[in-house]
């Protein structure tokens, strides 16, 4: 599928620590709850001003990944069991990992 003709969020998958970010700022991590990984959570990327930037649905293993730009970011997860968020400052390209607990 060509990236060009789509705006929908791709299916999410785990991001290994040695993931090749190809020079991009990648924000990735996992949503967990009381009983382990939370799949099907709506994971929202908010910029430094708190404005919405993008949203994906966490994989069955709770994974999510965003391609952003340097700056301050908050990732907020919504799930029927509860909501949670985590923040990160990305100084430059590379993998920036986040862990979010909900419930």
């Amino acid at each position: 599928m060509a990236v060009d003709d789509s705006c929908g969020a791709p299916v999410q998958e785990a991001t290994p620590a040695d993931y090749d970010t190809r020079g991009q700022v990648v924000l990735a991590g996992k949503v967990t709850g009381a009983n382990g990984p939370v799949g099907g959570a709506f994971v929202r990327l908010l910029d430094g001003g708190g404005d919405f930037t993008g949203e994906v649905v966490s994989s069955a293993e709770g994974d999510f990944r965003f391609y952003a730009a340097p700056g301050e970011w908050t990732v907020r997860a919504l799930h029927r069991s509860g909501n949670g968020e985590a923040s990160v400052t990305a100084e430059g390209p590379g993998l920036h990992q986040l862990a979010i607990s909900v419930g």
Binding site: V3, C7, Q24, R44, D51, F52, T53, R65, Y67, A69
Partner: protein
């Protein structure tokens, strides 16, 4: 036009799953979500395979739309309630198609699949079969659709609402942050465009904000109510949300969706492009 004329709540939907003359339809780009579980009785529209032209960059023809709706068992007088994932992006895009082809009795499920799931409402994976109909579409209502020549000619005389994220608008990113950034077209925006990201009209659960809040938002961003408006994004579906808010919820008359959007405009030779934040 009021909110009830164009939106239904998840509560209303749940109470009307078996109401004759009401057809629920899920619209997604990735239909694995539908296949794994959907609102009971809802038919499936595959945005890519059902609603796009297979060869040209355009959407399904009038004949194709008639065939599709007939096969899905939708009649001209049915109330069609559209919903989908991705904050209803593709459902809003489909809503716009339905209006373009003259189906008046169509509404969006407020909050879409996301709100339905966050409410913890039931999904099932039963196969949905409806009797075939003989659906008749109208010619496209082009008062709702902007093409590139009109877009270029309207610079300076119409409002442009660019609903992409601030980083896409300024030229920092070429695609939304959940997608890789490998793209061919130049970054930037149409000169004079307002940057009102689509999500500003929605609550975090995907439902639309109140009409008063949305009206205030666009006024604060500088929309000129005395002028027509063209909404665009990258490929035209996030802007369907803005088109819906402006044309359907607020009732502004001259509002068009530019479905060519940035992937077309940002590839045109010789047209003006502006860079930087608003």
């Amino acid at each position: 036009m009021s909110r009830e004329d164009v939106l239904v709540t998840t509560q209303w939907a749940e109470e009307n799953l078996d109401t004759p003359g009401v057809v629920f339809a899920e619209v997604d780009e990735d239909t694995t979500a539908y296949d794994a579980g959907h609102i009971r009785g809802a038919v499936k529209f595959d945005w890519r395979n059902d609603l796009q032209d297979g060869v040209r960059r355009d959407f399904v023809s009038k004949e194709g739309f008639e065939k599709l709706l007939s096969e899905k068992g939708i009649s001209n007088d049915d109330l069609v309630v559209l919903y989908g994932g991705n904050n209803n992006w593709f459902a809003a895009y489909a809503y716009w198609y339905f209006k373009l082809y003259g189906h008046e009795n169509v509404k969006l499920l407020d909050g879409g699949r996301k709100k339905w799931e966050l409410d913890g409402r039931e999904l099932n994976s039963d196969e949905v079969k409806r009797d075939r109909t003989d659906y008749q579409a109208q010619d496209q209502d082009l008062s709702l659709r902007a093409f590139r020549d009109e877009v270029v000619q309207s610079i300076g005389s119409k409002n442009f609402v660019d609903v992409r994220s601030p980083d896409e608008f300024s030229g920092k990113l070429l695609a939304p942050a959940h997608l890789p950034q490998e793209q061919s077209q130049v970054p930037g925006h149409i000169p004079g465009a307002l940057n009102v990201p689509w999500a500003k009209v929605a609550n975090e659960d995907g439902t639309f904000k109140t009409e008063e809040e949305i009206k205030e938002l666009y006024k604060d961003e500088g929309i000129d109510e005395g002028k027509g408006t063209i909404a665009y994004c990258r490929i035209g579906e996030r802007s369907s949300i803005a088109w819906f808010a402006l044309h359907e919820l607020l009732g502004y008359e001259d509002v068009k969706n530019y479905d060519g959007s940035w992937t077309e405009y940002g590839s045109l030779v010789g047209v003006p492009v502006e860079l930087g934040a608003k």
